[in-house]
Amino acid sequence: MYHDANTTTSPGGSNNTSTVNSPISAVSNTPDLSTTNNSTTSTPNPTGSAAASSQPRSINTSGARSSYEPMKSSYEEQWGLTPTSRANKTASPRDGAGFPAKEQAGSHKKENKVKASGLGIQANAGSASTDTPPSSGGPASAGGPPSSNSNKGGSQKPSAPSQKSMTKAERRELQEKQKAEKAARVSAGLPASGKKAAQVLNPPNSGFSPNPSKSLATSFPGAEAEKAIAAAESTVVHAGLQMAQFKICGANARCVATLNAFRKAIQDYQTPPNTTLSRHIQTYLNPHISYLVTCRPMAVSMGNAIRYLKYEIGKNLELPDEDARALFVEKIDNFIRDRITMADQVITSLGLQKIQDGDVILTYARSSVVQGLLLAAYAKGIKFKVIVVDSRPRFEGKQLLRALAAAGVPCTYVLLTAIGHVMREVNKVILGAHSLLSNGALYSRAGTAVVAMSAHERKIPVIVCCETYKFSERVQLDSFVQNEIGNPDELVNDQNNNFGHSSTRCHPSVRGSAGAAAAGGVLSGWKESRDLKLLNLLYDLTPSEFVTVVITEVGLIPCTSVPVILREFL
């Protein structure tokens, strides 16, 4: 299938590339300064705190902030709005799933050290007592440990019960047990060592496996387990195939489909002998993930969700199987509920403030969040018009148009080529996002950059609606360094992939001369042509200066503040 033409990747690798040491250094919108790396220049210490802040926010020579310290707002300190009440802060809406509390970081010193090496700042890495974490009920790395860490499946702290802590009788018992197990292994023909036996039964996967079912099968000896495999596989395979055929498309839809498939997989999972669910589940899930990647390159939203799941798994290695299973399923449900569903609702309510009577709103392609926002605005009674801009080859805007028209919203539909003409009467542009990068750039459906640039030129505000789980630590400067290539045949304008539109309207003279070739579209012979290649890029990059505001579930932020959100909350 065409998806084998995979992504072009940046030299550093895929999504999981660790970024520049201080994400802040990529963010600067004042080009005529030399010291713009951080928000405070190195003037006499920002003294703004009467309260004892244990460390001034020093900027070391490399320009990166000292990373072991939770970032506190000096505004907070200045006006005495801090700590005493932090611990008692009730009902932070971000408690619960998706935002594991930072205090739990104590047991994750390992992750802390890796994280602190460049990205994310965790509390409790030896900070002074006055530095209570900025939001005690608040979120820590829901995105999980960054980059390379996640591929090892979170911090795997082996924790055999320490023999020193057991009484003599308990030790005796343990030894007896181990002897019995060893005897059983030997009689079954496996190597005597427990580790090696486990390896034989569950060959470790190095990630990509061309035949997922095979590796899954070897993990699960036993007939009834195979039924479970079939069922689990079918959901993941199902999801993967739907994604590959673009039946499920859009960052949110793909992420939810992935998580649902994984939830089913976890529910149906049977633990193999000699290991526990939480220890083995990562190895089990990896081939599923690889399969999805082969269907379609991983979306940032999916990647962040999977990273979160692995983080949760890594945190709970000690739980008994059924508890672990229930916990992971709950975590998945909470993630979908908090970071996607509820986030969309909050975004809608915030976005409603920015839509007034008489607005002419332009939107591009189809974003589920934008659709929700526009429908909610209309339901609220605001009188506005919508211009839906669409483009080949996917024509995703048609779906949005159908939904809006069905609700009664006055709509206009144009193709991207008409953007210069319609932009004159527009007074707001609302866009969706596949991801927001750390340099504030918007990574979204191909064509978005043109729309944003066009609006910016006429000083029309560009509003982007994006949930925080789509924020990425990546930095990208242009659309080529990382993108996804779609099926080039989609660009050929013939009967088969025109979704029911009329075939190419060739001028009769052209048709006459081209003959049979023209009946299938002018480009249909492109493969035979030596010098002709078709390029179907799916995404593009919009620079941060074209975006006025980003509406997220944490509020309205300028797009240059993406790294702040990542640093403080994720």
């Binding site: 963010v27 600067s28 920002p46 403080e568």
Partner: protein, 341 residues
Amino acid sequence: MSKDFDVVANYKSLLLNSPELSMPVAAIQSLVELIKHSNATTMSEFMLSINVASQLLKSSVRNSISLSAGCDLFLRFVTRNSQDVAEFEAWKATLIVRGQSFVEKADACRYKIADLGVPFIKDGSTILIHAHSRVVSLLLQKAAENHKRFKVFVTESSQTHGGIRSAKMLRAAGIPTTIILDAAVGYVIDKVDMVLVGAEGVVENGGLINQIGSYQMAIVAKAANKPFYAVAESYKFVRLFPLNQYDLPTYNADTLSFQELNVDYDSNNTDENGQLVSSSAAPASALSQSALHMKTSEDQASQGSNPLVDYTPPNYITLLFTDLGVLTPSGVSDELIKLYL
């Protein structure tokens, strides 16, 4: 509830008695006074009374962005400090003490800012400032005290005569000052080395809300490649995110609206264009007449077909001098995010 304590009257008298006090600080002081006089016996009654008083203050002033910012900050301060209330009266007493120190700190902000901003004034430079801002004047006076030699152009700001007030203050400090027409900013920009303005409010993306004319100066400064610095105390940070000039709360349908054609120009109509010429009056007197109309309309709480403030987007601002330090516009948003979210 303390019905006998009129918070608005207290606020106004504070402003009258100390002209150096800024509006938000006076408002906060009035709220602290309210706490002192409060007869509330329960938390909820107390919080309610403070909220009501704050609303009263906000609605009593026409241009209330900085005042709103100050009130909101104080309310948040009270809320944060009300988490662990053991005994109501004792807590009220501590709150009064803390509130008082809050006011003192707020008042002291501009001295901190002046210290931070002085290094940016280079010897021998020429500075362009806008109308009258106490913080800016203080900063320049401090620079003069530090034996820096510089000259100042100040825009007249004809409606409020702020330029004249500024010029008086600066000349008294020995700084050579010239008043220029508001319309002459473009003319003079190539003679200046930097532009310095105060602030009514600083919004979430680091943009600036200030007296009308600031946006113009920012655009001219950017076109002429001169740095544009804004000076703002941190209690002026507001939770607003305007998409453009007309997304401000001070904007309403009447602002810069076109009047009916057959309206009687002789009566008190605040038209913006100089065509207030009645059939008989000469243009000059009509203009001064319109100025008068403008003035009287300012006293009324609701009128205003001409805006008093405008919004400067963050990409025009080079740096903001605040008591939290010298920040870039995106740094302001970082601070606010850390605070609010």
